[in-house]
Structures are given as C-alpha cells and as structure tokens.
Subunit: 441 residues, 2 copies
C-alpha cells in the first residue's frame, strides 16, 4: 500500500497534508489515480486549492463527474468555476441533468453565458470543445500595436499562440502566430505578414475531423467559424490532441472487444470493468453460436474422421489472426483518412493477394511436420484450408470495417473481435468442404 493510501485508511489528515506538501502535482496525480473512487473523494478534499484545480483539470470528464458528485457543494462549485469553458462543457455532459443544472445556476453570469453558448452546439461538434476566448487582431494594426493588444487582453484567452485577424464583423481574414508577431519588425503592418491561406473549420463540424486537421496541417490552433465565416472560437493543439487520444483509446478498446473505460484502471470498480466488457462478450458469443450450427451440420464428417477436430483451434486461430491483421490495419488507415470507401476494390485485391501469400507460406511450413505424424491426405486438407482461410480472412477483415464506415457505423466496432468470430464459421465451412472432397467422406 502506498503512503497516501495508508494515511487515508488511518485517517491521518496531518500526515496526508504533509505528504501533499512534499510532492509535486504530477507525483500526486499518479498516486491519486491508484486509489479507489471513495478514497479519491476524501483525498481530494485535503488538497491545497491550486493543486486541486490543476489535478481536476487533468482528469477525464467521466472521472471529474464521479468526483464532483461526491464533493461538498462549495468545493465543487469553485472547481467548476475555474475550468475553461470547453472543459466545463465536457464535464457537464457527463453529469446527471439535475446536478448539471444546479452547477450552471451557481456560475457567475459571464461564465454561465459562455458555457451556455458552447452547450448549444451539437454534441459531437467542434463547437462543444473549442475555446470561445481568444484575442483577435485587425489587418491595419502594426506588429507593435498587435503585441500591445495581446499584452493587455491575453490573460483571459486559453491560447495566444495563434492570433486570428478579423474585420469589423469578426469575419476571419487570416491568422498570425505569436512567434511571427514577435519576430516581425515593430512597424510592420499585420495585413502584410498574416497568413491568408488559412485552414479553418465550421463550428458544427465533427470534432474528430477538426482535431485530425490540426494534426495534419501541423498548426498550433485552428480558427472555428460560423456559417457566415465569422470567428466564434479556436480549437487549440492540446485540445485537439486530447480528442485524438480519446478516439485512439476508444479504437484500441474496441479492438480488444470492450468499450473504453474512461478512467484510470485502478480507479475503476470491478463493476465498472465488467460493464465495459459484458455487452461485447454477449454479442460475440451469440455470433459464435453460428459455429455450433456449422459443426452440427458437418457432424457426420467429424464422426467419420475424429482427427479433423484436432485442427479446428489451429485453423480458426490462424484465420482470426489474419482477419485481425487486416481489420486493424484498415481501421487505422481509415481513421487517419489514408483509405476511403472508393478504394474498396483496390484494398480487397491487395488483401486477397497478401492473404494468399501468407496462407501459402504457413501451409508450406506446416506441411512437413504434420505429414510426419498424420495421413498425407490430412496434410493436404490442412494446406488447402490454410490458403483458402487466410485469403478469405484477409478479405473479410478489410471488407467489414469499410462497409461499416459506408453505412455510417464506426469502423472500429466491426474490427478484430467481430471479424475473428465471423471468419471462424466461414473457415470451418471451408475446412469441412475441402475435407469431404479430399477424403471422400
């Protein structure tokens, strides 16, 4: 047990506060994330105010929500008041409606107004996660005047590293980085040095797409505009990275047959853990009953040559692995927009070539040891099955996620686990058809 956990168990608040004083906020957060949820709420109450805010900001919204509901009203309100508007909106999305309303009512009018504006945008839009506080410049300013404006007004802005340039009606004309502003000669006119060839996104755009654009264009922030091209906020680099990290975590979880946990592993309860996995297991076991039907259909072949059963796990594992490889690769390639639905014929053709190549390699290697122990005809059945199964598995692994995307379903949902399960039944059919033909059952 860590010192921190021990002080909590012993209710030694003095030692606890001592421990906080001796560690920096990264060390503290690392230990807090290893506590049970109930312990975390208590440990949190004793944190010095400024560190508490830092740590609260670094938490995932789901974890913030869990914590907020177990804190005293005053502390909860203070924490929420201090959050940036976009982070506050993400937290409110996680809270029960009643708690969220109470918290909103407790905010000061200016903060409440800003929060309500963000809450008005659709739930997956960039509007919900953008920062509405920015410093906008004018074309006619000199670099010195612009720097002076940042100096005066920059304190409230979440970021001042990308400075949008607008006209009187807030229509976006260009951007300039704080770096270029500092490097420019003081009397340079902003209009002459700003970048006019600017990437920007509509406020209703999907947040993952916007975040991906920040990464691809390698910009420190992206202006967000409304339908009339007026600037309404900026999406900063770190918020974009958080969105992408979140999407990656979701894809990784789905690839491992569960929903994402949304909080540190040790902070989650056994119930939390089971909940994120139960639904997927149910769906997959239902899909797997298909294999019972397939085997039932071929039961006579199995009774005639029981040896055939010995290779079932090896064949379906291999098919599953080849299918996982293809689906994992294609899901990732689609996530970063390297592959689109129109590429389907090209992708399928490539994957089938790869599958056949891999199947042939495995068959060639497996043939020798297996023919030493078993009938040569069994080896033949196995080799033919391996090639066919690998080919089909690679094609299925590519096809399913691409078809899902076309149908508007997240491709990650039909990734490795689903592909593996479906390829199993397909593989078994192939195996027994080949066995029946070769062995003449």
């Amino acid at each position: 047990m860590s010192n921190l956990a021990q002080y909590l168990v012993e209710k030694d608040w003095h030692q606890l506060q001592q421990w906080y004083a001796e560690h920096d906020s990264l060390e503290i957060v690392n230990e807090l994330y290893r506590l049970k949820p109930s312990e975390l709420a208590i440990a949190f109450r004793f944190l010095p105010k400024d560190i508490a805010l830092d740590i609260f900001e670094s938490m995932e919204p789901a974890q913030q929500g869990q914590l907020i509901t177990s804190l005293r009203d005053v502390q909860a309100r203070e924490l929420i008041e201090e959050l940036d508007p976009d982070d506050r909106v993400r937290l409110i999305d996680e809270l029960p409606a009643k708690v969220a309303r109470e918290l909103l009512e407790g905010l000061d009018p200016q903060e409440r107004k800003m929060t309500s504006i963000l809450l008005g945008y659709p739930s997956d839009s960039v509007g919900r996660v953008m920062s509405p506080e920015f410093v906008a410049l004018r074309q006619s300013m000199t670099a010195a005047q612009a720097l002076e404006k940042v100096h005066r007004n920059g304190r409230d802005a979440e970021s001042v590293y990308m400075l949008p340039v607008t006209d009187d009606y807030l229509v976006l004309l260009g951007v300039i980085s704080l770096r270029d502003l500092v490097l420019a000669e003081p009397d340079t006119i902003i209009g002459d040095i700003m970048t006019t060839d600017v990437y920007s996104v509509q406020v209703g755009e999907d947040r993952e797409k916007a975040a991906r654009l920040v990464q691809e264009a390698d910009v420190i922030a992206l202006p967000v505009v409304d339908m009339e091209g007026r600037l309404v906020g900026i999406l900063t680099f770190d918020d974009a990275m958080e969105i992408l990290e979140h999407e990656d975590t979701e894809d990784i979880a789905l690839g491992g047959a569960s929903r994402p946990l949304e909080m540190p592993y040790l902070s989650a309860s056994v119930k939390n853990l089971a909940q994120t996995r139960a639904l997927w297991l149910l769906v997959l076991i239902l899909a797997a009953t298909l294999s019972i039907n397939v085997l039932n259909f071929f039961e006579q072949s199995l009774e005639a040559v029981v040896t055939l059963a010995l290779f079932i796990p090896l064949l379906i594992d291999t098919g599953g692995n080849v299918g996982s490889q293809s689906s994992t690769l294609i899901v990732r390639a689609m996530a970063v927009d390297e592959v689109r639905f129109g590429d389907l014929p090209r992708v399928l053709f490539r994957e089938m070539q790869v599958g056949m190549l891999l199947g042939a390699m495995l068959a060639a290697i497996a043939l020798v040891p297996i023919s030493l122990v078993f009938d040569l005809r069994i080896s033949l059945v196995l080799s033919l099955s391996l090639v066919t199964i690998c080919l089909l598995a690679a094609a299925t692994g590519a096809l399913l996620p691409m078809a899902a995307k076309r149908l508007g379903v997240d491709p990650a949902i039909v990734s490795a686990p689903i592909v593996t399960t479906l390829v199993d039944s397909l593989g078994l059919i192939v195996y027994f058809l080949i066995a029946n033909a070769v062995l003449g059952i």
Copy 2:
C-alpha cells in the same frame, strides 16, 4: 483513378503542375499518399520547391527514406538541408549507411555539426529527437530585453513558446512561456516571473518516457539537460505527440498481430504488407500447435462424445475475447503508467473477479437455449467450462503483459494475439477435464 494518378500514367506534366497549383498542400499530400511508391517519386519531382519541403517534412521517416533514394541528388540534398536537425536524424536512421554518409557530407558545416551531435546519442533517447536550436534567457534580463532577444534570435529556433532561463554555464534555472513574457510588464525581471519548479529530462532518457511527461505535465516544451544539468536542447510538444502517436500505432499493430507498417497503407507494396505480418503469424501458428497436442491427448473423450467438438470454437473464442479484453486494457494502462508491476496481486484479483462475473453471466444466458437442444449434462459441462475459462483468461490476459514488462519486453508484444492463442490450449484442457468428470468418460 484520381486526376493526379491519371496525369502520371499519361505523363502529362503540364496538367500535373496545373493540378498542383490549384490545390493546397494538405490536398496534395492526401493524393500523394494514395500513389504507388514508384509513382510517388515521379510526382514529387514536379512539386513546387516550398510545397515539396512541407510535404517531405510531414512524411514518416521510413517513407522519407524510400523517397530520398529515388530522387535526384540535388533535390535530395536540398530537402535534407532544409529539415530541422531532429527530423534529419530520424531520416538518417532509416537510410542505408552509405547513403546516409554521402548525405551528411553534402550538408553545410553548421548543419552537419548539429546533426552529428544528435546522432551521438543512443538510438531510443530523447537526445535523438530533441531540437538543439533554442533561445535561452538570463535571470537578470527584463521582460522587454528578453522579448528583444527572442525577436533577434528566434528565427532559427524550432520553437520559442517555451523559453529556458540559464546561468553563464548554460545550467537550467527555470523557464518562462512566451505567453507570460508578452503578458508581463516590460520592466519585470525574468528571474522574478520564471517558473523554477520545472520538469526536465536527461538527454539519455527514453524518448517515449519524455514524450509522456510532456503530455502529463501539459507543457508546450520540455528542457533537455546533460548530466551536469546544462541545457542541451528542448523537446517540443508536437515532436512529443509524434512520438506518442508512433508508439500508439505500434501498440495497435501489435494488438492486431503485426508489426507497424510505417507508411500510408496505399503507398505500401503487397510485399511490404506481407512482411509486417508473416513473422507474427508464424509464431502464433507454432503456439497454436499446442492445441493439437491437447486435443490429441483427449482424443478418446472426443471419440466417445463427438458432440463435445461442436463447442470448441465457441469456448476458445470466448476465452480469447476475455483474454483480449484484459490484455488490451492492461497494456494501455501500463503504457500511460496507471499500472505498475507492483500492482500485480491487486490487478490479478480484480481481473479474476471480473472474469468470473462475466463467465457466470454468459453461462446463465447460454444454459437455457443449449439445454433445449442438447443433453442437460452437456449444458452443465459448458456452463462450468465458461466460468472457469473466463476466469483463467482474464488472469492470463493481465499476467502476461505485466510479466513481459518486468522482463524488459514491450508488453504490447504479448497482448491480445499471444494471449488468445495460449488461452485456447488452457481452455481446452479445462473443458475436457470438466467433461470427463461430469460425463464420466
């Protein structure tokens, strides 16, 4: 076929250049990444110089290497000369030694010197990926003087958003962000407003660890120091994110039973694709032969009750899925340092509880339909097997990656695919032992 690909096939260089002129660099890069490698080299030669550099910088080092070797000498040298020193080092690591040496010799002396310094650090260290060009301030400067120094010397630095403050011997004393510098009153003394409680890393530190620190501490750049605490470079936020994205991609690929591809999907050849997967499939099929031995051992039971064979795919799939869930979760939790080896007993206990819970749920649901079709004793065998297999699979899925990390092996290597394969044999043993006991075979 896209317009771009068509112009290349038709060798219509005029239309090609026209097309380049009409599209921005993100649109161009998206289309370039969909060409075959041979086409890419030709398309690249016709790019306007400044766009060519932008696009070259955005490529993965492996892809840069492939391209460089097929370009004319002059263009290759120009591209490499323009890269930041850290990006150049990453590229050089990908090139054959002879090509790398020639390119280094072609650099101007100043660039060559900086490149050689970075190349002197160990291959996975932060020294290789840091930026050696920075603007360092002094404690005694006023904010106005500091800003003036950035104005004069900032052009060569990769980033000026985090400004290190050092003494005469370049020993790091603190940092100040460009934002705080601009917001400060001009006559403020740097020593009074700099942050002295600074996270920094040793130049020999593992690059992933350093990148993770940038993310956790949410800083825009991290000072890199030598053994004496002297500043030698900075690791910028975007380079850190690139490192983490690279590690995530690697973990995702390993979770899908292959090595990462290191280039856009459509730019890779069928041979590239097969190569990244072949070794893993071989290892896994060898591990899967274990299941043949297990089934061979229980062949008598199978002959006595062929019905037992029907449930093999369903049981090993379910075990595999539960194992995947655990290993995926634990690999991710260890990657972000939420779980360490010392937590093993706690993690194992939690996972076994989760596994048992999930197994019991599946058994309860499966029991009814199966007992309608099959013998009640078969249902009993299945239910008991499901609970035991899920429990063992969850424990194995947690144990293997944690043990791997302890042994200094990347935990992602023993993630889902390996766990699934090993849990198969374990599950089959459990299944037949239970069947033999219940059915009295």
